[in-house]
Amino acid sequence: MRLSHAWLALQAIAGREIAKFVRQGGRFASALVRPLLWLVVFAAGFQNVFGVSIIPPYDTYIPYQVYIVPGLLGMVLLFNGMQSSLAMVYDREMGMMRLLLTAPLPRSFLLFAKLLAGTLLSVLQAYVFLVIAWLFGVEVPWSGWLYALPVVVLSGMMLGALGLLLSVQVRQLENFAGTMNFVIFPMFFVSPALYPLWKLEESGAAVVHLVAQWNPFTHAVEAIRFALYGQLAATSLAIVAGCLVAFFTLAVRGYDPQRGMLRRTGGKPA
């Protein structure tokens, strides 16, 4: 694989992804409205219900709005990652995927380019959300914007790779509703996105607390939360990186011509 060839292909794949995103203006709007509703409406309503005590990385009492910003950043990444997977399923059904997979480049690279392109959009949306949150008076330290960047990128890639993996499993477009119910919502709710996990422990929901520990999204949110305050959540970050490698490897296996999903779904020779 020549480097210039790989670079050209990456640009083309990312360019197509971005052009598609720009054409679908509604997708951008809904990607931002969703977390904004949580921030403005939900957080306002619950501000006094949840007393958030001082826990790392915070060094003072914080309003609830501030608490949920990392979780909502995670939500943006999660939704976009899943949306990219929906696009992959669509591409596969419309044949675009075949065109991509017959390009003279290693398949793993082509999938990686897809993943990078999706992540680029995720990160862009996450930062636009930060700007909007700031406009609504929900502030995180300015240095945090910079520290969080690599963590947001890594988390976006991990959730995108999960989407890629799901695209191997999801057979039809309709099943995306199932993905929402069985992947997005559980991952989001069983995580520290909306409340600190010790609250679960305190209220005796030991099983949920345990499940949350095993939720990769939990670690993405925590890694982002600490990074926003200039701190390194090494364990969470390592788990996010590990999950990225695992999800991507499994997704590539899924597209392997020897045993992959193409073999199974392509059983129709007509």
Binding site: A12, L99, P104, Q258, G266
Partner: protein, 265 residues
């Protein structure tokens, strides 16, 4: 076993026998889906500047064969070489020499005609002025220069297929694979597309044209009849009719395949 079959098929071939002239070489290719055998030992070759029609009813295994040729699946057995590159061991090198027009359209309808071709060029490592030149050439060859900026969505079915053909030629492949490319086209567009592809022979391109339409196969240098995953006959269109003892290739085809297509799954 493999070798013996290889030799037999080599003998029966009317292709140029020198190794370099063979662009696409299949030997005893097999593929099953569960218990169903889609391909049961297919051997064939396409030479430089040769137009080979792969004629078979629906369900004969044509699409399976194309999926193997484009590296979407691996064969269970046998060997596929493109310009000497084994598609399994070195898929990247093999794919670089292949141009494909799939049965199902793979154009981005929202992009312009030239933009679709540039996307393809980039996937094949062509960028900048070189890509622009190749794209312009490919469009000019098919008389699409004036449509270069139009969104593909606005094009007729016939022109969309031409765009796909132009795109498949952008990277100047040695082998062109056409998978039932005329499906859904009116007779005039069908003929036009066929003529465009026939003309590629002069440039040395080897073409494998899958179809279930006998009239398309009649234009070929060589016809390979595929039925239920096996090659039933191979030869020049006139020769085939003579072999079976019928007046025309159409009659020969009907007789060989039992008059009806297999279940169209």
């Amino acid at each position: 076993m493999n070798d013996r079959m290889k030799i037999e098929s080599e003998v029966s071939r009317s292709t140029p026998s020198t190794k370099e002239a063979v662009l696409l070489d299949l030997a005893d290719v097999r593929k099953s889906y569960g218990a169903r055998e889609a391909l049961r030992g297919v051997s064939l070759a396409v030479g430089r500047g040769e137009f080979v029609a792969l004629l078979g009813p629906n369900g004969a295994g044509k699409s399976t064969l194309f999926q193997l040729l484009t590296g979407l699946f691996n064969a269970d057995g046998g060997r596929i070489e493109v310009c000497g590159h084994d598609i399994r061991k070195d898929p990247v090198a093999a794919l670089a020499h292949i141009g494909v027009v799939f049965q199902q359209s793979t154009l981005d309808l929202d992009l312009g005609v030239a933009a679709n071709l540039r996307f393809h060029a980039a996937l094949h490592g062509l960028g900048g002025a070189r890509a622009r030149e190749r794209v312009a050439d490919a469009l000019a060859r098919l008389g699409l220069t004036e449509r270069a900026g139009d969104p593909v969505r606005e094009l007729s079915g016939g022109n969309r297929r031409k765009v796909e053909l132009a795109r498949a030629l952008v990277h100047e492949p040695a082998v062109l694979l056409m998978d039932e490319a005329t499906v859904g086209l009116d007779p005039a567009s069908r003929r036009q597309l066929l003529d465009e592809v026939l003309a590629l022979r002069a440039r040395g391109v080897g073409v494998l044209w899958a179809t279930h339409l006998v009239d398309e196969a009649e234009a070929a240098d060589r016809v390979i009849v595929l039925h239920r995953g096996q090659i039933l006959a191979e030869g020049r269109p006139q020769e085939l009719a003579a072999q079976v003892g019928t007046a025309s290739l159409a009659d020969a085809f009907l007789q060989m395949t039992g008059g009806s297509g297999e279940r169209a799954d």
